[in-house]
């Protein structure tokens, strides 16, 4: 028996809509199998991962805090991937955005006022955009593979942050802990409503970014340009679109969003800089982008689902004693299933025995 793919005359609308759900269902099944293998009840496992975190107000708020950076980053990545630019260094752009956004509260702590926070956010976005411009420049100017350069720059950014918080930016009164001073009150990203414990403006930025990029991609010439250059650079050239300008546009847009996510996380969730400011948001956002089928509105839903896996991981660790490593396995499996199910959109899959495949060939 073997698998045969038959190209569909046009994309299947049915499977375009269904494939993320099939992938989620398969991930749940695989997860249940994994929980049994780890000696836990699959029902309990799924419950703590996907239902328990949704039952309380505070954990719903925590979900927005986890989902916000994922959505922000993934929306930018969607523009990159749609235009065939493989930025996989969002984690590095996130870190650099966290650093450049923290320049004012760390180096000029006496500067307070309503202007401070907007300045920090803008500086974070600029930092991320400029850091993402490096692989873009190397790709357009020297024809260098952007996958490898953007990924290498992640390690460089992480080491740079490590150096800053242990060296030049370390809080002198911090008992030698590797961290900067705690941000002043005006440098902290406010809660959406004062009554809330954790949910901050980050999720608002994320939703705004998703809607704006959705409009940009679906309703403007720029969005058309992104898709044409992504599908066929040659056709794009004939239409008068510049491929190298698109490389910069896609990279710097996604870098800016990743940088904004970085400073939002530092200012809203942490409150100072420390050696590690991200539990791998930049990489998980790649999964979010694909699960959302590179559609900004789909990415909102996908970001909430992946954010849920982070929370569920914590819940399952506390309640079932499951390792927190299970989260990353879940996320990896999900991406596999998403990619596999996307095949159904373009192809009809036929399981053919030898006889059947001969018949199909008309032999």
């Amino acid at each position: 028996m073997r698998i045969e793919l038959v190209k569909r005359p046009q994309q299947s609308a049915l499977f375009s809509a269904l494939s993320p759900f099939i992938a989620l269902a398969l991930t749940l099944v695989a997860g249940a199998v994994m929980f049994s293998l780890l000696g836990k009840s699959p029902v309990d496992g799924i419950y703590y991962y996907f239902i328990d975190p949704l039952r309380e107000q505070w954990s719903l708020e925590a979900l927005t805090v986890k989902a916000a950076p994922l959505i922000l980053i993934a929306v930018g990545l969607a523009v990159c991937y749609s235009s065939n630019n493989w930025n996989i260094g969002a984690e590095g752009q996130f870190v650099i955005g966290g650093i450049t956004g923290s320049i004012l509260p760390v180096l000029v702590p006496q500067f307070q006022g309503p202007l401070l926070l907007p300045l920090m956010l803008v500086m974070g976005a600029i930092g991320g955009a400029l850091y993402a411009a490096i692989p873009a420049l190397l790709k357009t100017r020297f024809n260098t593979n952007e996958i490898l350069t953007s990924l290498m720059l992640v390690y460089v950014a992480q080491l740079f942050l490590d150096w800053l918080v242990r060296g030049a930016w370390r809080d002198p009164g911090g008992n030698n802990f590797p961290r900067t001073v705690t941000f002043g009150p005006d440098a902290v990203l406010p809660k959406i409503l004062p009554s809330q414990d954790t949910a901050n403006l980050g999720i608002v930025f994320a939703l705004l970014a998703a809607v704006i990029v959705w409009f940009l991609m679906g309703r403007t010439l720029k969005g058309f340009e992104v898709r044409v250059l992504g599908a066929s650079p040659r056709a794009g050239r004939f239409a008068g679109f510049s491929a190298s300008k698109m490389v910069f546009f896609a990279f710097m847009l996604s870098g800016a969003l990743a940088g904004l996510a970085g400073i939002s996380e530092v200012s809203g969730a942490i409150g100072y800089l420390q050696p590690t400011i991200s539990p791998g948001y930049g990489f998980t956002a790649i999964i979010v982008a694909f699960l959302g089928r590179l559609n900004p509105l789909g990415i909102i839903a996908a970001g909430l689902i992946l954010g849920l896996t982070y929370l569920g991981g914590e819940a399952a660790q506390i309640s079932l004693g499951l390792s927190d490593k299970v989260v990353r396995v879940f996320q990896g499996l999900l991406l596999f299933f998403v990619l596999g199910c996307d095949t159904l959109i373009h192809y009809r899959v036929r399981l053919a025995g030898f006889g059947a495949s001969k018949a199909a060939r008309g032999v």
């Binding site: 390690y155 460089v156 490593k325 299970v326 396995v329 990896g332 991406l335 596999f336 192809y347």
Partner: protein, 306 residues
């Protein structure tokens, strides 16, 4: 043992995993498939190598476990990209993400436990020759495997009919298919070879280089191996040269850190990554040369039209 000799020895140890993983990926890419999952397969090889050695008490069985883990894990990628024609870049990435997660889960109980080291070769007399004795006759067995593998890959790709067929698939899979060559079968085998190599490279890390298990212990070496293939313009001998160049950078920065020259250790640690970027820029700027060397079907999905 002189200082020069010990530095050369450590360079060889640092270069060996890069060389093995890059050679495997070179064969994969020569068949027209871009597998970005090297980091994931390597870290799976590292954890299964360590676990295999710890559970059986034999470092050699650990090596076997590492190789098998890499090859089996690569089948996931092969099935998705070859049998159901998914995007190779995205699928490779997901292999890396899953590998890093799965290895963390498998290795959790081994964190902090003492590892087994694969014993180095010792030939009485020969290994004691000053300066070159240890370099030639006193290294770990995987070092010798890496050199043999280099020769083997050169011989296979450029001196055998099968190797020629593999390269032709990488350059034009449609023509190869029209000639009746089983494109998918060749690619499956190539991907599994790449997986086995990445697994062996990982086992070298956890059984020779630093005999212990640390989460994410590959630290980007899989990605550097991918860069080496581009740097080497898909030639095995240049992969060898590149791997030793990177081994030298890695060891050089470690020595500089030990000397305490007042250079921040983080800057020195980032040198291998920065060097990768610089080297990629230098090699890719000649657009025509790159185009000529790149396997023409690299990264493009192939669906047989029956």
């Amino acid at each position: 043992m002189g200082i020069a000799e010990s530095i050369l020895l450590t360079i060889a140890t640092a270069a060996t995993p890069l060389l093995i993983a890059a050679l495997g990926e070179l064969v994969v890419e020569r068949s027209g498939v871009l597998n970005l999952g090297v980091e994931g397969m390597m870290v799976m090889g590292a954890v299964c190598g360590f676990a295999g050695a710890a559970l059986t008490g034999s470092a050699w069985l650990g090596v076997v476990a590492g190789i098998l883990a890499g090859a089996v894990f690569s089948l996931l990628f092969a099935f998705l990209t070859l049998s159901i024609a998914t995007n190779q870049v995205a699928t490779g990435l997901s292999l890396t993400i899953l590998g890093l997660g799965l290895s963390g889960m498998i290795g959790e109980s081994f964190v902090g436990s003492a590892g087994l080291r694969l014993p180095s070769l010792h030939l009485p007399g020969l290994s004691d020759i000053p300066l070159v004795g240890k370099l030639l006759f006193g290294q770990d067995p995987i070092f010798y495997m890496s050199i043999a593998l280099t020769a083997g890959v050169i011989w296979f790709l450029f001196r055998t009919r099968t190797g020629l067929t593999l390269r032709s698939i990488g350059d034009n899979h449609s023509s190869a298919h029209a000639l009746g060559i089983p494109v998918i079968r060749y690619r499956y085998l190539a991907v599994m070879f790449g997986g086995a190599c990445a697994g062996l490279a990982g086992a070298h890390l956890s059984l020779v280089y630093t005999p212990q298990w640390v989460e994410n212990m590959t630290a980007g070496r899989g990605w550097i191996a991918l860069a080496l293939v581009v740097f080497a313009s898909w030639r095995p001998l240049r992969v060898l040269a590149g791997a030793y160049l990177f081994g030298a950078v890695t060891i050089g920065q470690l020595h500089a850190q030990a000397l305490g020259l007042g250079i921040p250790s983080q800057l020195l640690s980032s040198l291998p990554y920065l060097a990768t970027v610089v080297v990629l820029v230098l090699i890719s700027r000649n657009r025509r040369l790159t185009m000529m060397n790149t396997p023409a079907s690299l990264g493009r999905a192939f669906v047989p039209d029956r």
